[in-house]
C-alpha cells in the first residue's frame, strides 16, 4: 500500500469513527423514548390523569395533583422569571454596552450553567429559611424562576441583537424616544426570538427535579395554596422509581410519559417555529 492509499484509508476510518460516535449518542435517546412510551403508555387512562397520588400502591391512584402542581409551579415561576429575564435581556442588549452591562452578562452566563441543586439551595435559603414560609409552591416557583431568568435573558438579548440597526435608527429618526423605540419597535421585532426563549425556558423548568425536592417538596393532596407543599411530575417519578409496588412503579412511568411529552413537544415546536422564521429571513438562534 502506498502512502496515498494509506492516508485515504486513515481518512475513511476517522470519518467512520466520527459517524459511530453520532450513532452511539443516538442510541440512549431512542432507547429512553422507547422505554418511556412502552412502559408509560399502558398506565395512561382518564382516572390516572385525574385522580391524585396516594402513595400506598392501591389501584385507582393517579397523577392529577402532580400535573396540576407542575402547571402551577411553571405558571408562578414564569410570572417572576419571564418579565425579569426579558427586561434583563433588554438592559444587556440596549443599555449594557459598558462595564456594568458586561458584569451582568457575565454572571448571567455563569448562572445559566449553574447546577440546579445549588439553585434549589439558594431558593431554600431565601423562601424557606429567610422568609420562613416553609416548603411551599412559592419556594419551588422562586427556584424555577432563578433557573428561568438567565435563559430568557440570553435569548432575549440574542433576539434583540438580530434586529437590524436600521429599524432602531428609523424609529429614533422619527423622533420617537428611546424607551418607546425599545418597547414598540425593538421588542415587537424580536418577538419571535423572545417567545422561542421563553418556551425553551419553560420546557427546561418543567423537568427540573432537584430544586423542587429542596423547596416545594411533595403533597399527596390537591394543593393550590402558594404557601403549602405541592406535588409535581418529576418528584412523582423520584418518589416511585425504586418502589417494590407495581402500581407505584407504573405511576412513575406514567408521570414520565406525561412529562416527556410536555418537554419534547415544547422543544420540537420551538424548532419548527424557528425554522419557519429562518426561512422568512429572520434568523433566531437557539442556544
Amino acid at each position: 500500500m502506498n502512502a496515498y492509499e494509506y492516508r485515504r484509508l486513515k481518512n475513511r476510518l476517522a470519518s467512520g469513527l466520527a459517524l459511530t460516535c453520532v450513532i452511539l449518542a443516538m442510541i440512549p435517546l431512542l432507547y429512553i423514548l422507547a422505554s418511556v412510551v412502552m412502559k408509560g403508555a399502558p398506565a395512561l387512562s382518564w382516572e390516572f390523569l385525574t385522580n391524585r397520588t396516594v402513595g400506598t400502591g392501591e389501584p385507582g391512584e393517579g397523577i392529577g395533583n402532580a400535573i396540576v402542581g407542575t402547571l402551577l409551579l411553571v405558571l408562578y415561576a414564569s410570572m417572576i422569571g419571564l418579565p425579569v429575564g426579558i427586561l434583563t435581556g433588554v438592559y444587556i442588549s440596549e443599555y449594557g454596552n459598558n462595564r456594568f452591562g458586561a458584569t451582568v452578562r457575565f454572571f448571567n452566563d455563569v448562572l445559566a450553567n449553574f447546577p440546579s441543586i445549588v439553585i434549589g439551595l439558594l431558593a431554600y435559603a431565601l423562601v424557606v429559611t429567610y422568609l420562613n414560609v416553609g416548603f411551599s409552591l412559592i419556594a419551588g416557583a422562586v427556584a424555577l424562576a432563578i433557573i428561568e431568568i438567565p435563559i430568557v435573558a440570553n435569548t432575549t438579548e440574542e433576539a434583540l441583537r438580530m434586529v437590524p440597526n436600521s429599524l432602531r435608527e428609523g424609529a429614533l429618526a422619527l423622533g420617537i424616544s428611546r424607551w418607546r423605540t425599545v418597547i414598540k419597535v425593538m421588542l415587537s421585532s424580536a418577538k419571535a426570538g423572545i417567545v422561542t426563549g421563553a418556551l425553551l425556558a419553560i420546557a427546561r423548568i418543567s423537568g427540573e427535579t432537584a430544586p423542587l425536592l429542596l423547596t416545594a417538596f411533595y403533597s399527596n393532596y390537591w394543593s393550590f395554596s402558594p404557601t403549602e407543599p405541592v406535588a409535581s411530575l418529576p418528584l412523582t417519578i423520584f418518589r416511585n422509581y425504586n418502589s417494590p409496588s407495581e402500581v407505584l412503579l407504573e405511576q412513575a412511568w406514567g408521570a414520565a410519559i406525561v412529562l416527556i411529552m410536555i418537554v419534547l413537544s415544547l422543544n420540537v415546536s420551538v424548532r419548527l417555529f424557528m425554522r419557519r422564521n429562518a426561512n422568512k429571513g429572520q434568523k433566531v438562534r437557539m442556544r
Partner: protein
Amino acid sequence: MVTAKGSMLRKNTVRFGGDQLFEYSVMAIAALNLILVWFLAVIMFSDAWPSIDRFGIGFLVGADWDPNRDLYGALPFVFGTLVTTGIAMLIGVPLSIGIAIYLSELAPLRLKDPLSFIVELLAAVPSVIYGLWAMYALRPVMVDTVEPFFQSVLGWTPLFQGEPIGLDKFTAGVILAIMVIPTIASVSKEAMMAVPDSQREAALSIGATRYEVTRMAVLTYARSGIFGACILGMGRAIGETMAVAMTIGNANKISWSLLDPGQTMASLIANNWGEAEGIQLSALIEIGLVLFFIALLVNVFARAVIGRFMSRIPTTGGGL
C-alpha cells in the same frame, strides 16, 4: 416658529426624563439578579454556619458521615464526585469530540441541522427520567455484561473488586457520560464552526485529506474552545443530581472499587434532604456551598478559555 421650537424643546426634556426612568428601571432589574444571588449565598452561609463553626476546615477532609454521632465530613462525597466525573469525562469527551467533528466537518449539509437537534434533545430529557431509565434499562446491562467484562479483564486492579450490583459509581459515571455529551458536543461544534474556512482551504490546497484537514487546521485552531467545552461538561457532571442519586447506591464511605456504591456531593443533598435537621442540615447546606463555589470557579474558568474567540458560552442544560 419660536414657540414651536420652544415646545419641541420642552417635549424633548420630558422624553429625556422617560428615557432615564426606563433605563434605570431595567438596570435595577438587571442588577437585582446579581445582588440576589450573592445575598442568597450569604443566607446559605449563615444556614451552614453551625457546621462550619463546629467542623472548621476539617469538614472538607473528614472521612466520616455519621448522623448517630453527629459527626460530618465531606471527603467521601468529594471523592465520589471526582470518581463519577472522571468516568463521565473518560467516556464522554472522546464521544463528544467525535460527534462535534462529524457535525461540523463531515455531515452532509441537509443532515447537519436534524442531527444537531437530536444531540441537543439529549439535553432536554429531564434528569429524573435518565435515572428512571437507568434503573430499568442501563442497570441490567451493567450487571450482566459491562461489569463482568471489566472484571474479567481488569479484575486484578482494586478498581473492579466485588460483586457487580449495577447500583454503583460505575453506573452513575456511565449515565453522567451520556448526560455531558450534548454540552461538550454542541460547544465543541460551535468552536469548530468558528474556525475560518481559510484554515481549511490552506490545508486542502496542499493536498490534505478530510481527516488531515480536521486534525491540522480545525482541531489545532479550535483546541482552546474544545477544552473550554470539556470544562463546561465537567461542571455539568459535578452538579448533576437526580440521575446520580438514583443510580449510585447511596453509601457514605470511600471505596476504591468502581463496583461499590458511593455518593456524590449533589446526590448526598438530594438523598438526605427529607430527613436531615439540625447540624446535619447545616452540613448538607455547607456541601451545597462548596458546590456553589466549585460551579462558580468552573464556569468562570470555562468562560475565560472559551471567551477568547467565542463571544458567548452557549447555554445548555444545567444539572436539571
